[in-house]
């Protein structure tokens, strides 16, 4: 068991409203950069976003087409499984409902896939109904590459590894397919309010 280091506090915010902080989390004002791999640098003219898999036909948007879609400002708290939470983060993005509008599917699951090979899986129901966005701005500025730019997923009701950086598309599937971290210890669902960090939680 560890012992207390006399006088050590760390840098977290001490007076955050308790009902906004999931169990085991600490609130920070920083924005730590955490990455499973090198930052990709896809030229914007080569970037596209796709919805494919169990769909009537694949859908694809170039950057211009994507930016022409209606977008909205979204303010949410985010929670990383490494125990830091950041409150009231402000994004600009396109709702997944907008992207799925008109897409016919019987799929129940989705895999987010990114430049660099990262994947993460969710039930389709967890990204519809106003729960998820593809965001391209953070705090009024274009999303920085080290934070997932040009565009990343935002799925704030789950731990933040479920919001893929450098996202390039969604693959809709009839079956669930555990992703990069879900295959190695992290919980398949990842609800911070039930502290579902690891397998078996």
């Amino acid at each position: 068991m560890s012992f207390i280091s006399r006088g050590f506090r760390g840098r977290r915010v001490a007076d955050a409203p308790r009902d906004r902080v999931p169990p085991g989390q600490y609130v920070t004002r920083d924005y730590p950069v955490l990455s499973a791999g090198p930052t990709p640098h896809t030229p914007i003219e080569k970037w596209d976003f796709s919805i494919m898999g169990e769909v009537d036909e694949p859908h694809r948007w170039t950057w211009e087409e994507f930016r022409a879609l209606p977008s909205e400002e979204v303010t949410r708290d985010i929670h990383c499984v490494t125990k830091w939470s950041k409150l009231d983060t402000v994004w600009q993005g396109v709702s997944i409902d907008t992207l799925l509008d008109g897409v016919e599917t019987s799929a129940e699951y989705v895999v987010q896939y990114s430049d660099g090979g990262y994947t993460t899986n969710l039930p389709l129901a967890d990204i519809t109904g106003g729960k998820a966005w593809v965001v391209f701005e953070y705090e009024g500025e274009p999303l920085h590459p080290e934070h997932g730019g040009p565009a990343r997923m935002l799925v704030p009701h789950l731990y933040f590894w479920k919001s893929a950086k450098w996202v390039r598309g969604l693959r809709l599937q009839a079956f669930d397919e555990p992703g990069f971290w879900e295959t190695n210890g992290y919980n398949n669902y990842g609800d911070p309010w039930r502290e579902q960090r690891y397998w078996g939680d």
Binding site: S35, A36, P38, T39, T82, G116, G117, Y159, Y198
Partner: protein
């Protein structure tokens, strides 16, 4: 190049919690490109967990997730690990 990237050394302590052998001097062979090299020379990234990537092709050789009382290690990106004993 990422400013946050580290060497294999950075996870040596974590790995030594599990293995009784010095992992950074062991030679790993990448399952994707076949390159062999010291684990200490891998490119280490820190995301939700740690990833040790092949310095030649970026393939994840090792993924490590540390829970409170469990640790998960995925070695599927390595074909083989050669260790001095």
């Amino acid at each position: 190049m990422d400013a946050g990237m580290l060497d294999g050394n950075a996870v040596a302590g974590l790995l030594q919690e599990v293995f009784a052998v010095e992992v950074t001097t062991a030679t790993g062979t990448c399952a994707a490109c076949g390159a062999a090299g010291a684990m200490g020379a891998t490119h280490v990234y820190r995301g939700a967990g740690f990833v040790m990537r092949c310095p030649h092709c970026d393939n994840p050789l090792v993924k490590i997730v540390r829970g409170d009382d469990r640790l998960w290690i995925d070695l599927s990106g390595m074909r083989t690990l050669e260790v001095a004993v």
